[in-house]
Every structure is written in C-alpha cells, then in structure tokens.
C-alpha cells in the first residue's frame, strides 16, 4: 500500500463556543480552556503538517475566535503557504478582529447558519445569535474574504432548504455547504430529534438540484444525501489516514472527527510526537488504513478501495465493532439498525444541548 501524503489539517483550537448546537461535532466530553495547547505548539503543528504535505488548514472549534492568538496562528499559516479557512459561528467577529485576520493573510471564512427562520435558528443554537451572525457576514463580505456559509441540515430545517439557499445567495456567499447531520457524538445523542423523514429528504434533493443549476457560476452549492438514506456508505474523510488529520484542543491527533468515540484507539499527542511520526508511525493512524483490518463482506468487496468500508465510528456506535462494515451498507448484516433509526423519530422533539458537564466554562 502506498501511503498518501495528508492534504488537510483540521485544527480544533478550542471546544469553547457561545452556541450549543445539538449536532456539534465536538466530543461529548468537552475540554476546558486549561487543557488547550499553546500558540507555539499550534505553530509547530502547522509547520510540520505543511512539511508533510498538508495544503488546507481549517481553524475550527468550538468557536476559534475565542482564542486570542487566532490572528497570530492565521498569520503563521499564511506564511507557510497553507490555504486557511476560519470555521466560525460568526460570534465574536468584531471589525477589529476581522481586519486583523485579513491583514494576517487569512483567505477564507466559513460562517455557520442554523436556519433562515429565526425562531428555529435560536432553538438549535440554544441561544440568540441571528443578529450577530448577520453583522459578521456583512464584515466578511466588506473585507473581501472568500466566503462560505455552512448549514447543517436536519428534520427541523430541511423543508426550508430552498429559502436557505436563496438566503445564502442573497448574502453574497461564494459557496454554500449543505451538510447533513453526522450521527456520532452529539448528533447520535439527538438522532431521534434530528433525523429527517424520507419524504423531506427526497423533496429537498429536488429543490437543491434545481437551485444548484440556478446559481451556477455565482455560488457553488455542495449537497449530499444523508448516508442513512443511501444504500452504500461514503468514504469517511476519503479513507482512514489517507488525507486528513484532526488535532483536538489538547493536542490529540485523530484521523477523523468521530474517532474520539473509539476507545481502543491510543490517540497520539502533538505534545509528544511530531506530526510526521503521528502520520507514519502511530497506531491510531494505521489502525484502519488500507484494507488489512477489514472483515467480510468488505474484505472481498470490489468497492473497498472506493468507500473503505464506510465510517469506522458509525460501525462502532451502531454495531459495537469499529472493524465491522458500516451498517449503512446494504451488504452489511446489520443494515437493520439504520432502517430502525429511520423510524425512531416519531414523537421525539427535545434536543440535548451540548454543554459542559458541571462547573461554568473556563476562561
């Protein structure tokens, strides 16, 4: 097996966030400020990642603007030649900070929008954020950043997909990412409330296809069907340990967002190891790389080089073994757990909001 060079580093600078989205991709155990690694650690990680071949950097969170060294980190990334995206809720993006980020060389800002309906947006975010987001979006446009809007889709907003797309176009977004809720961590906890109905998904697909053509050349729209509604799984992050490195606020390196949930993985820390060692040598990045680890039906399936057996975290969460076939696959003997989940939503409409377990959040 030839080992690819990684292309993308997702730096989860902090778990702290003013919002409480019930589908947040952060792990259920949120880290507090005192566990976060420092500015110099992050800079070294960016440098090492670049040397290894990383081209794209996501400055993410939580809300990365909570980190006071964000401008310095963005500047360092730019000096290395990385194409950097700030993944933000928009909250905390003051004019002063936006201008400083622009001056530091940040190229691309992605603002999350929960919904076009303010009441639902606030219900999802667990707090009021609509006005502040609008102000942030205006600044991003004014300062000439490349600008994307990201919307996580679920049962409560999917019917407004057309209005959501029109809203993003009206904001002057260059790109719109319509992302389906990922059912691990918080998303899995809230699955019964978030899971859309099949009719909703099919109607949304048609509306999206129509708008994609309508806005072609003005705004790029990415929309993929939620995997629960498909018969074959998606290649998770393009395959385990092939392109992606996620680094958590405390410096743990993961092959994908959801890998926190796989207890058998020994997650290497950038405090102790170089990014190069982590990529080439660490057991976590080798665990599900390639196909040696696969069981049937994946092992003898021709699609194994296309989808790599799907998502490991989903396999673990829903079948109890991360090395099993992703149960989304129609060839999986456990596909029934997906079909059952598609019907479990009747009556569920309470969200468990992400929050820290006990004491108030750190500084």
């Amino acid at each position: 097996m030839t080992m690819e060079r990684p292309t993308t580093l997702l730096a989860e600078l902090t778990h702290r966030c003013p919002l409480h989205c019930p589908y947040c991709s952060n792990p259920l155990d949120l880290l507090r400020a005192e566990h976060e690694i420092g500015t110099d650690d992050w800079k070294r990680v960016f440098t090492e990642a670049r040397e290894l071949g990383v081209l794209q950097l996501g400055l993410s969170g939580g809300e990365p603007l909570i980190r006071k060294d964000l401008e310095e980190l963005a500047g360092h990334a730019r000096s290395l030649g990385l194409y950097t995206t700030l993944v933000t809720s928009g909250l905390g993006l003051t004019r002063k900070r936006a201008e400083a980020l622009r001056a530091a060389g940040l190229e691309h800002v992605q603002v999350s929008v929960q919904d076009v309906d303010p009441a639902t947006a606030e219900r999802i975010a667990g707090t009021s954020s609509v006005k502040q987001k609008q102000a942030a979006i205006a600044l991003v446009k004014e300062l000439g950043f490349a600008f994307s809007i990201n919307v996580v889709l679920h049962r409560a907003n999917l019917d407004r997909i057309g209005e959501i797309i029109d809203y993003a176009a009206g904001c002057g977004a260059d790109r719109l990412e319509l992302a389906n809720t990922q059912y691990y961590g918080w998303g899995l906890k809230n699955r019964a409330t978030l899971m859309p109905r099949r009719e909703q998904v099919l109607a949304a697909k048609e509306i999206a296809q129509d708008r994609i053509l309508r806005y072609k050349g003005r705004m790029q729209i990415t929309f993929v069907l939620p995997d629960y509604f498909e018969e074959l799984p998606k290649a998770c992050y393009g395959g385990w340990g092939r392109y992606y490195i996620v680094v958590s606020p405390d410096g743990k390196a993961l092959p994908c967002h959801g890998a926190y949930a796989i207890p058998s993985l020994e997650l290497p820390s950038v405090r102790e190891h170089s990014v190069q060692w982590i990529w080439h040598e660490s057991s976590a990045f080798q665990a599900y790389r390639g196909d040696d680890w696969m069981k049937e039906p994946c092992r003898s399936c021709p699609r194994k080089t296309v989808d790599f057996g799907g998502c490991r975290c989903q396999a673990l969460a829903l079948t109890g073994d991360a090395a099993n076939t992703d149960p989304v696959c129609m060839l999986s003997p456990r596909r029934n757990v997906i079909d059952e989940a598609l019907h479990e939503h009747a009556g569920a409409d309470e969200y468990a909001y992400r929050d820290y377990a006990a004491e108030p959040q750190g500084a």
Binding site: R5, T7, G81, Y83, Q110, A146, D174
Partner: protein, 89 residues
Amino acid sequence: MTVAMSPDTVPRIWRLARLDYDPARQRPVLLYPEGAVLLNDTGQAILELVDGQRTVAQIAAELGARYQTDVTADVTDYLSYLAERELVQ
C-alpha cells in the same frame, strides 16, 4: 455537462483559487476552499497565462510558439475541465 470554452473566451481563475507551489510534492498546485488540484508542467504553463486578459486562442498561440506545436486542443480541453469544476470561469 461540458462547459464551452471557445477561442474568444477570456478565462479567469476562480476568485477563490490561488496558484501556488507545493514544496512537499514538488508540484505546482491550484488551491481553493476545501480543495486542491496538483498541476503538471503543462497545467501550470496554461494557468500562468490565464490572467483575465488573454483569450483561449491567445493562450494557445503563445504556448504553441513556445513548444513549437499546435496545442489548441490541449489548452481548450484543460480549461474546459477546470471550468467544469468551476475553478476557471
């Protein structure tokens, strides 16, 4: 769906994309939000002439002179491919 690149089209690189060099792979690369295209020397030579002024025909003529052969089809195909991916408009 094919995107028409006629000889008179004045192609430009997508506002969000940036031509750069990847020191790790020692290859020119076109970077854009959430993606990258590694370029070969031909790709780089073409994109360096995509400046929002030259037409496809002019780009092909310049490269044709440089390589002493007719590259019109290659240039048109390559730019159409990138236009298809919305990286060139």
